[in-house]
């Protein structure tokens, strides 16, 4: 909680605390602190019609100026009808230069959540996407369901073309749906709206004191809300700008995201084993149409990577995947591009087996997660080939079918989770 110093926190508390904390975590702020505060002001202006909603707000901003967190805060206010919401603005601590993007984002998230919990706010909004794409409407749409309608978690729903959000489509979203019974399109955000109750639940958990700890708040927020019986909804935010894929470090990305996801799965095992079916969550906002032209994708490299993995990683996959799965992967690696299709049930079993292998530490967890990369690239290649000429409705249907496959395969996961040594061909 080093974003805001203790004296400043006490000053805010003496002034009556705060109703709202907004974290602006743009990874490349380029001096856009002013734009961040302006966005928050504009979002708060929508509340000013009913001034009982937000009287005081704290904005935690990553403006990339570096230096110590003890930057002199400035008091900012929005004048609206004589009863102005007061805005306190602070800078987040500069990330460690040795840290990569993901750990620094996790630490920034922890800072925002910690400040919100300490001040006992009613709502907390976090914008972790590029500020250029995020509008003031994003802040409003993430926070308004919490303040007005009593929801505890507002998850984002982005407008995406078919080749975006692939890790979400292939693993994170359907896995969350099958395990926790909630149909969320982006269970790891990164833009979220949280209630004070959810903030306290999140803070009670041990995130780990040091930076770069295994647990990641982004992967634990949605499961915490689901397992705590809190009210969850989704909000349409529009298109999200993403940085280009760094193909040289894809395995690091998978390790950073899937590791905490599997850890959370292990922690919440007593809960998700009882869930039988999923339900849709309420949605707010109007969905925007995604552009049909997603550009061309060269699947040859992805298929080569998958084939190379199938040839060379049998010894690594052997302790994790059962023999039938290895056989199917080998058969798949010999298929021609026009016949290259990864069946949903095969993919689901692979993900579940990797989750189990992560839990049992069959091999080093880092090796296990990185060896998942060729399989993931194989799935992308099969998906790209299958959806080459598909429209948005077909893509939605495809995503839904995969989610149903995860739910249908859950008994397989539960039985292997409980009896990992049972005979499994």
């Amino acid at each position: 909680m080093d974003a805001v110093s203790q004296p400043e926190l006490e000053r805010i508390e003496r002034a009556g605390g705060a109703d709202l904390v907004v974290g602006i975590l743009d990874p490349e702020p380029d001096g856009q602190a002013g734009a961040a505060v302006a966005s928050v002001r504009e979002a708060l202006a929508a509340f000013s019609a009913d001034s009982s909603k937000v009287a005081r707000a704290v904005v935690l901003c990553n403006n990339g100026t570096g230096g110590s967190a003890a930057t002199a805060p400035h008091l900012d206010s929005v004048d609206s009808g004589g009863q102005s919401p007061t805005v306190f603005c602070y800078n987040l601590p500069a990330p460690d230069p040795a840290e990569t993007h993901q750990p620094s984002m996790s630490h920034a998230y922890r800072s925002v959540v910690a400040v919100g919990g300490r001040l006992g706010v009613r709502a907390c909004g976090v914008i972790a996407s590029r500020l250029r794409a995020a509008t003031p409407q994003w802040i409003f749409r993430l926070v308004q369901p919490v303040l007005d309608l009593g929801f505890d978690l507002v998850a984002p729903r982005y407008t995406r073309h078919k080749m975006e959000g692939l890790l979400n489509r292939s693993v994170l979203s359907p896995l969350h749906q099958a395990l926790y019974g909630e149909q969320l399109h982006n269970p790891v955000g990164p833009d979220f709206g949280l209630s004070g109750k959810l903030l306290q639940r999140v803070l009670e958990r041990d995130f780990g004191a040091s930076r770069g700890a295994e647990r990641d708040p982004l992967t634990s927020i949605a499961p915490t809300a689901a397992c705590g019986g809190l009210r969850v909804c989704e909000s349409h935010l529009g298109a999200r700008t993403q940085p280009p894929t760094d193909w040289m470090n894809l395995s690091s990305l998978l390790a950073r995201i899937l590791g905490p996801t599997f850890l959370e799965m292990e922690r919440q095992a007593p809960f998700w084993q009882r869930i039988r079916e999923s339900h849709a969550v309420p949605g707010f906002g109007l969905p925007e149409a995604a552009s049909e032209d997603g550009g061309t994708v060269d699947v040859r490299r992805m298929m080569e990577s998958f084939q190379l993995g199938a040839q060379n990683l049998q010894d690594v996959w052997g302790p994790i995947l059962p023999p039938m799965t290895l056989l199917e992967l080998r058969r798949l690696s010999r298929q021609l591009p026009d016949q290259f299709r990864m069946p949903d049930d095969l993919w689901v079993r692979i993900v579940y087996d990797f989750a189990l292998g992560h839990r049992l530490r069959t091999i080093s967890r880092d090796h296990l997660l990185r060896s998942f990369t060729p399989l993931y690239l194989g799935w992308i290649a099969a998906y790209a080939l299958e959806m080459e000429t598909a429209g948005s409705s077909e893509i939605e249907a495809r995503t839904e079918r995969l989610a149903r496959a995860y739910e249908a395969g859950k008994p397989y996961l539960v039985s292997r989770w409980r009896w990992p040594d049972r005979f499994n061909p």
Partner: protein
Amino acid sequence: MWDQVGQALSQSMNRMLSEMASLLPGVVALIAALLVSALAAWILTAILRRSLARIDFDRRAAQWGFQALADWSPAKSPTLLATRAVAWTVMLIGFLIGISAFDVALTSQFVVRLFAYLPNVLAAVVVLARSVLIGAVNLNLQYARLLSAGVKWLVTVLAVAMALEHLGIGGGIIRLAFGILFGGIVLALALAVGLGSKELVSRSLDREASKSSNQNMQEPVGHL
């Protein structure tokens, strides 16, 4: 004079006989320990061989993903590998017990050094080889397995040389042999890369660099 010579000879003979007599119990103990350990090894391997044959271990090992074990085993039989490993382990233990009859401190120091060092070396070799293999596959290197095997053997040779030097076995001969072997390997690789494969390496590096930059520019793929 002949009496004195006779006395000197008889004294030296007595000393030699007393030294031999003092060593004799240790030798007898060593031989007894070896015989007992041989008997124990024979019994254990017989039991193990029957048990593994009953569960068809050779076929199951391949099913369980230990195909490499079958490839490495003598006569492609993991059962034979397991029984021989058990037999030699029991014999080694018997030998160490027999040695302790001569000097307990020597044995305990040797055992502590050996068993403290080996697991770390084995674990390091496995972890490093697997890391190299996964990393090479993720970089789309066609020679990933060859690279991993090469790294594994280089690390093993290095670790064995370090262990022998640490144990004080061989001394300068080991250092010289290792230096010649390692230096020869590195020199051969340098010559191969520098002279024989420079165009191939250059084309391969250009291809990898252009693949990664083209991929970043052209691939409209997002993951989160």
